[in-house]
Amino acid sequence: MAISILQNISLIISIAVIYHFVSRQLHGRPLIVSALNGALFGSAAMLAMLNPFHFATGIIYDGRTIIIAVAGLFGGPLVVGVAVAIAIAFRVFSIGGTGYLAGILSILFAAAIGLAFFYWRKRSKKPLDNWRLLAIGYLVHIFMLIAQFALPDQRWKTVLPAIIVPVLFLYPLAFFFICRLFIDNEERTKNLAMLKESEARYKLLFKAHSSIMLLIDPDSGQIIDANPSAEAFYGWTRSQLLSMNISEINIQPVDQIKERMKQAQSKNKNIFILKHRRAFGDIRDVEVFSSPVEYSGEKVLYSIVHDATARIQAENKVRELNQTLEQRVAKRTQELQDMNKELEAFAYSVSHDLRAPLRAIEGFSSLLSEEAGKTLSESSEHYLGRIRYNAKKMSQLIDDLLRLSRISRQNLEYSKVDLSRLAREIAAEMATRYPARKLSIFVQENMVASADKALLEVLLRNLLGNAWKFTASIPDAEIRFEYMDRDGQRIYSIVDNGIGFDMEYADKLFSPFQRLHNEKEYDGSGIGLSIARRIVARHGGRIWAESAPKKGATFYFTLGGG
């Protein structure tokens, strides 16, 4: 009996091999695979039954339970169904005899138990460990023994003692080893599938991607693989590329390339900007991201290449432009400095040379009028007076012009300036100078700006002075200096209720020597507001005015960033 079991086992092992071969070859057509494997198991059961241990005529013992249970456990319903059909048909029609019912029952029990664990395994996803396999083997063969009660004439009484020892010791063990064989095979198939999948993934990541990718042997520089994007970019076919060394592409000297590759191996993240030669004969600027990776058990450099020619050229151009810009700025600055110097020299010479003749005109006219005063007619005396007046006036104009030009030329020194305090000081000074004037001046608190203090003082002196001057004839004169914030900008305003001006001439207000009121009534050369505008402009601000005749005037100004 033991020998026949061994024969059965070897039979099943060969089935296992064929089973997996069929499964692999006809992968993707599960119905045909199941039918064929069912036939295989059925034939095996048949062969087992042809080589049995004869207990008596019509009562045989063989490995069919093992075969059928394995078919159920690993093949599933269709496989075991086909196998059971063949096995039962063979048992009934070819062998027959008194034991056929017990034979059929043991086949059905084995199939049911195998199938039950097939489903259990599918649902629980738990592995079939060794103890579980042994348990199933025992279960199948306990049921096989139970099937013996179906023998006629209570033959079990003699059969059971004869077969119980081999059935309970040999059969489960045989079942166990065959199952292990199937499980190992299954795992192998699974590993193979995983390998295929990883290969497919590699194909997807490497071959199908539009980035240019190269695998390079870090020691020799040999190209190990190149993707189609690399073929398209470099203009060499994959097989050409695979016969090439990276030094044929990278235009750097070989030792430098070696150095780079050594560096790339030691670090995980490497970005190089290089020049790569192509089959087309041109050289492109490329950005190479290189990482060491494991490939078929070897360390290789996995490089992704970006064609950065356009960008690098643009960058170079920007750099070039910046450089020429710097040169141009330096040149312009020099020109401006020269011009400024020239202007300063001009102002200096104006201040010295233009005033000297005026002094002579005034001086000698004055001496003339003194000496010849009594002998001169009234009109001659008047003419001399006009000459002297105009000489003085011209001298004043020159002084004003020089003041204006000085404001344009002098450097600003920024500090925190308390405009409120400055305005109050100026107002107090004016009040002391003209104690007869009755007027109220309101200055808003906490007006602080970052500005040049000296220039701001000139500005406020001019604007407050104007307000003071043009309210002289108003009985309840009032001047207000305040601010408002509009659109994130601080706008200062100096409001008076003086004689005002016609808005038609508002644009002339800030030009040098423009007057809107006659000189007799209101003195001054008309430079004050030009100076005010220049001061505001130097601070990056703006000045403007609103008014109507006899309705007072408002001067607004901003101080740029301050």
């Binding site: 010295h352 040379d353 000297a356 002094r359 001086g363």
Partner: protein, 151 residues
């Protein structure tokens, strides 16, 4: 000794403009300032006079000035250079120098004081004011002000 500054009465006027020269002399006369006035017409001549070189070599020591009225814009050597040189020489380092000029540019005023001017006066265009300026200047520098003995 006759070389003492305090004993000298001469005013050295450094002025290149003949009109200004005439007006200045007139203003002194108007104010009855009788001190002798020696006029030199450029910076080089001023230095020759002060250092007794060139055509002023061996000039009478009694002509050593008690006061220098110095214009800034001068032919050959400018007023500021004259000032610097005479402040550098021991014989003239304490000599009172009043800058009397046309401009009131900041840089002129600052540089004049930097190089050792004792005073800075801008010539007014109006002759009556100029006259008054000369009167006060004469009163102060020739009568009130004391200078050390020359070395």
């Amino acid at each position: 000794m006759s070389s003492s500054l305090s004993e000298s009465t001469v005013i050295l006027l450094v002025e290149d403009n003949p009109d200004d020269e005439e007006l200045t002399l007139l203003a002194f006369r108007n104010n009855q300032i009788a001190n002798p006035i020696i006029v030199v017409r450029d910076g080089a001549e001023a230095l020759e006079f002060l250092f007794k070189t060139g055509k002023y070599e061996g000039r009478d020591l009694r002509t050593n000035p008690r006061l220098v009225l110095l214009d800034l814009k001068l032919p050959k050597i400018g007023g500021l250079d004259v000032l610097r040189k005479l402040r550098g020489a021991p014989a003239t380092q304490f000599l009172p120098v009043v800058v009397l000029t046309t401009s009131n540019q900041d840089e002129d005023i600052v540089n004049s004081y930097r190089f050792g001017a004792n005073s800075f006066i801008r010539k007014p265009v109006e002759f009556s004011k100029f006259n008054e300026a000369i009167r006060q200047l004469g009163l102060y520098w020739l009568l009130l002000n004391e200078v050390p003995l020359a070395q």
